[in-house]
Amino acid sequence: MVLTVAEKLSKEPKIWRKQLVVTLIMVLVLGWSLSAIKLNTGGSSGLTVARNIFKGLLTPTPSLLLNFSSNGVAYLLLETICIAFLGTLVGAVVAVPISFLSASNIVPSYIAIVGRVVIMAIRTIPAFVYGLMFIMVTGPGPFAGLLTMSLASVGMLSKMFIETIEDLDKGIIESLDAAGCTLFQKIRYGIIPQLSASFMSTLIYRFDMNLRDATVLGLVGAGGIGAPLIFAMSSYRWSDAGAVLVGLILLVLFVEWFSNKLRKKLARG
């Protein structure tokens, strides 16, 4: 049966009523959320402040940027990289057992649900609260930052790990079983090759994110580049803040480019 264009058009499903309802809900919700906004400053003072900030950020202090002692930008960035790197690794060490225990194809579903609730609870607590808790353990410094990063990574890492584990192809393991492999051989040749590329890719992605989120640690004095940045900003030294930000943005852009390359390589196998 061949339809003319006009017939085809008339057969188009009529969804305007549904669209109207969705639009109405959106407008209502947005109208409700507008009530949170209160304009409480004169526009002109805000504008001059903004101009000063951007002028400062665009003219970073060269002495701070090119200073290689222990309070220059270079060393702080190195410290941040180390915190993010070890934080991701420690987070992975914690996340792997948790995710195996919450994957619904490995354990019974009620255990998996408990695991998921635990992961969500871990993810809900903001990073700076963890920072304060770990400072009680280690005292202020990069060690506390590292532990904070690792606990903050556990949530996302295990969420992604679980997805990978649930995609495991059981046929491979069954055929290894049929070929008479031992448990160790089954894990080595049946499970690890299926998981490792995706796990590595997740880890690299998380390292990227950790580097970006490392400023949060500075709030509570847990090391890294955040503290000098926030101090500079709260004492209106915008050029110093600009120097730190330029360093951080360049580093993150470089790491992102590098990790994208690595992950592409992993995806191609």
Partner: protein, 273 residues
């Protein structure tokens, strides 16, 4: 042939039919060596020590233990900041998601053929995305004053950069057949985009925005720390006063909210895709 293959020569096999095959040496030892070196440097710089961690781990739970039992009588004061946090994330996500659309179109190589323009907007997206949200929030508090407006702006900036990147990537992977057909029929660019590109990217775009909104609710609780309104404000205050029972109650409220919003958005996203 790169350096590694030149140092560690590939293994040579001669097959039965006389052909020779080269097997490259395994790279794993080199990668492991690099990783071990990086771990050692990191341990040195961050003063990592397992002994301290094991010996003093119990202090981690001091604060956690004080949070129980949570102070139930504090609930009435939590409502307003909690709702503020949700409103901030909603409005911020909405503004950011709308604002990123024209910029994503300008950075898609299949819609805009001038390379200079697409490259410029792509770099612009990357730089905005690397700007830490906390820094954006701090700057916003200086410009817009303390309060929820600053938080909304910070969330909008983050959403703008995140959704924008995903959107231009999905526009670039669109199949261009129908777009070209519409242009050949005499449609202008705007209507060709409306009828050929929008239907292809809309579901994934909406799903990204919902996902971003989910994360923003969680993130908005940190922004209060720098005075950008919402739950973080009272969280910071109660931690400062060491009223950990109330802190526990705030965290439970946040947990329930995040869980509700996450399952709602997961339901909506499963309908979309």
């Amino acid at each position: 042939m790169n350096l590694y293959d030149r140092v560690f020569k590939p293994k040579k096999y001669t097959l039965e039919n006389g052909k020779t095959v080269w097997e490259k040496r395994n790279r794993t030892p080199l990668i492991l060596l690099v990783i071990v070196l990086m771990i050692m440097i990191s341990i040195k710089i961050t003063d990592f020590s397992l002994a301290v961690l094991i010996k003093r781990m119990k202090f981690f739970f001091v604060m956690l233990k004080d949070m129980f039992p949570p102070d139930g009588s504090y609930i009435p004061q939590i409502w307003k900041p909690l709702l503020d946090t949700i409103k901030m994330s909603l409005l911020g996500s909405f503004i950011g998601a709308i604002a990123c659309i024209p910029f994503s179109i300008l950075s898609s190589t299949n819609l805009v053929h001038a390379k200079a323009i697409t490259a410029f907007f792509k770099v612009f997206f990357s730089v905005v995305r690397t700007l830490p949200t906390l820094v954006a929030a701090l700057i916003a508090t200086y410009i817009f004053g303390l309060g929820t407006l600053a938080g909304t702006v910070a969330i909008a900036v983050f959403t703008f950069a995140y959704c924008g990147k995903i959107l231009y990537e999905s526009i670039e992977t669109c199949s261009m057949g129908s777009f070209e057909a519409l242009e050949a029929l005499g449609c202008g660019k705007p209507s060709a985009i409306r009828y050929a590109i929008v239907p292809q990217v809309l579901p994934s775009y909406l799903s990204t925005v919902l996902f971003c909104f989910e994360g923003n609710v969680r993130y908005a609780s940190i922004l209060g720390y720098v005075g950008a309104g919402g739950l973080g404000l009272i969280l910071n205050e109660k931690i400062g006063w060491r009223e950990y029972g109330k802190v526990g109650m705030i965290l439970i409220a946040l947990f329930l909210t995040v869980a509700t919003i996450e399952s709602l958005s997961q339901y909506l996203r499963s309908k979309l895709v």
